[in-house]
Symmetry: C2
Subunit: 434 residues, 2 copies
């Protein structure tokens, strides 16, 4: 402590713009400091800022909160970021609704469980895991019933996968309804999921060779139920109880859910209580009246499960204001339900020219990948956007491209179009979809 008092900090001015990203910006930054130095001499803002640093912080002068005997920690009271419910297009009793992840505040690729997006049709059930059962029956040699402890005694696997609602972006096809990326893309989260490959349970039950489909049924008030092809179930579907190192959160299906990697979120049925094996889809309401796509010929496409390659810039994004002309790191997420992200291109001129962004490791299959791109904003109006390319060679389309093959009328799902943000001369960032 003596040393701290004897050895006070310097009173120079703080830096006021982002870090140098090349030699010339380093030079620019140094000049900037000299100018600020003059301002300090004249008694400017910088002096006030650095004067505070001469004081020993209050927190150094007293003990803090003692440790608790048993605790499950919570964020700082100064950290007020939340997942937000939307009232757009939905009823008002809040049982069938969605809440969205604040992607503009997410660091890295892991979404904290407390900020994971929600989508449910009859609220969040309160299930005692000791009473929960999973039934596996239908076209199998030996129908089975599992308790949670039965399932948790199996060998397990843990995989990082994104989860996205097929409705993500449905308010922003042809008009800029959303003001932030949380509203336009927040039905998207990513985590590490732990559970048992469904193929192991099917092997144990002994599937009839003629079986081609299965149903997943939830224990929620809506009894949400979907049909899933046997081929996918055998490929990589997991029966999941773990989410980011702990048990599933209630909103994510506690104590058990299906997880269908890379497919629209609603088939990863939560609060999973029953799997039935059959030889045809069941055509539930969620695959006839909902989760279908209108096509140009007036027909509706059923079972469009895959979430195709998509990306979005999260910094800068809607609702932000640029700190001023100068270097800025453009950041965002890219993901594909069909594999890994091979490349992400960024445009800062409304889509005329594209340059390749850096992908941050690890780049994983069916997982969020963070991309970064160094840009120097000159202070004039600009339009920025990103475009993902996945390991199959598929290139993220524009909304105009999608409009050629689908009908963009009504309650349209699967919006993976290129999403632009506009930056005004005053530095305001706005949704530029149109």
């Amino acid at each position: 402590m003596t040393l701290k008092r004897r050895d006070g900090p310097d009173t120079s001015a703080p830096p006021t713009s982002p870090a140098p990203t090349s030699t010339d910006t380093v030079v620019a930054q140094r000049r900037n400091f000299l100018r600020r130095g003059a301002a300090v001499a004249a008694g400017g803002v910088a002096l006030g800022a650095s004067a505070q640093t001469l004081e020993i912080p209050k927190s150094n002068l007293a003990a803090g909160r003692p440790m608790e005997a048993k605790a499950y920690g919570t964020p700082s009271r100064y950290y007020t970021v939340t997942r937000n419910r939307t009232d757009v297009l939905v009823n008002r009793q809040n049982f069938s609704d969605w809440s969205m992840t604040p992607l503009q505040h997410q660091h890295g690729i892991v979404t904290p469980n407390g900020l994971f997006f929600e989508r449910h049709h009859a609220g969040v059930p309160d299930i005692n895991p000791d009473e929960h059962r999973l039934v596996l029956h239908g076209m199998v040699r030996q129908p089975l019933v599992f308790t949670m402890s039965d399932l948790m005694r199996y060998p397990s696997v843990s995989k990082f996968y994104f989860l996205e609602c097929s409705g993500n972006g449905l308010t922003d096809w042809t008009r800029a309804a959303s003001t932030t990326v949380q509203q336009s893309h927040g039905l998207l989260s990513c985590g590490q999921w732990t559970g048992v490959p469904l193929s192991w349970l099917l092997e144990e039950a002994g599937v009839d060779p003629k079986a081609t489909w299965m149903l997943f049924e939830g224990a929620d008030g809506a009894g949400h139920t979907r049909s899933v092809p046997m081929k996918k179930a055998l490929a990589d579907v997991l029966i999941v109880y773990g989410q980011n190192g702990e048990m599933l959160r209630p909103e994510q299906g506690y104590p058990l859910r299906a997880f269908v990697p890379g497919w629209e979120g609603n088939v990863s049925v939560k609060w999973l209580r029953r799997i039935k094996v059959g030889d045809a889809p069941w055509n539930f309401r969620s695959e006839t009246a909902r989760y279908t796509d209108p096509m140009p010929d007036g027909k509706w496409r059923q079972f469009s499960f895959e979430m195709e390659a998509k990306s979005v810039i999260t910094n800068p994004s809607g609702g932000m204001r640029m700190a001023g002309p100068g270097p800025v790191e453009i950041q965002g997420f890219a993901w594909s339900g069909n594999g890994t992200i091979r490349a992400v291109d960024v445009s800062v001129d409304g889509g005329r020219n594209w340059q390749e962004a850096r992908l941050e490791e690890p780049v994983l299959d069916k997982c969020l990948t963070r991309f970064r791109f160094n840009w120097r904003w000159d202070g004039s109006p600009a339009q920025i956007a990103s475009r993902a390319v996945d390991s199959t060679g598929y290139v993220q389309p524009t909304v105009a491209d999608i409009a050629k093959v689908r009908a963009l009328t009504g309650f349209v799902q699967h919006h993976n179009g290129v999403f632009p943000w506009s930056i005004s001369a005053s530095g305001e960032v706005k949704n530029a979809i149109a």
Copy 2:
């Protein structure tokens, strides 16, 4: 809903042992079902278990909790796992103490922020990020002062790294003091950290070529301060504000901490307020009276920063009871402060024979790696342990190996010895260190 009622589940018995891991165990499992089937006919336990599955769960018959407008989610009320404070060897006022991560309950490699281990010397300070400042001074051309918004405007990087206290395991060198892996190894967690490489800030300040060390000082009541070599600072030290996708938790240094990858946790100074560049270590109390290692010649080793390769079996582990003879997946964690994990060997006969375990992807630098090993317990007493090998070729030593080069007397840090668990004929799993 109609379909659910019309289409009730089968009433067969539940499986009662872990999943088949080879053909012969599949057969064994099938026979087991037949035996249970007979028991059902006689009105046994299985009937009770499956009878429950004939009922529609209560949660299916009513709407659940409505969605909140703004929320930061919490675990299920049925999930009661916590990080636990220890009173071993520490004072009683709970300001200088530690709490430990329940590794036996952790799925995957990411530790949930709410279960991240804690170690602090004067409690957890309550810091307003708007008032926080980081001072960078000493042997630099241009001393700097940073606000949080200054730092968060820099380009950033996100990295998965483990964090381990140098004291992890100090109660269990030569006697089995801990009953669970939370107590013996729980000063260990892993997350994705987001921040600014310190080298960028140093470049901006202009470091004197003669500078070889720097100090990190915290804004906590203890004013925790450590000396760190410039070489490491330039290599991979981060100035961190993000933890697993959100801002740092208060116990982890909110709003700002140093993160020194692979080194003992105490040098990753939390609540970071000051960095001073110099040409020699400062010999703070935390590097003379503490965080030093007694050697056989009676001298004490200073600055033993690296956390060398280590591993531990978390399932089965102390305090658990085997479900019974049969297949079981041995699981655990391996990590190294000097690189990636190349291999993990598992012994089930007290260390006489070793077999290679499977490593689960992703296997990342200075990060927890999960290993898995299929074993069939025959019901007789056994002793199990794991042994890590890292990318430098270093092999995790036994405690006996360590005793040859260090003195295991008093408050000894850096226990990375092979850690055995014993399994009794009754299936009880116990700490077997001795």
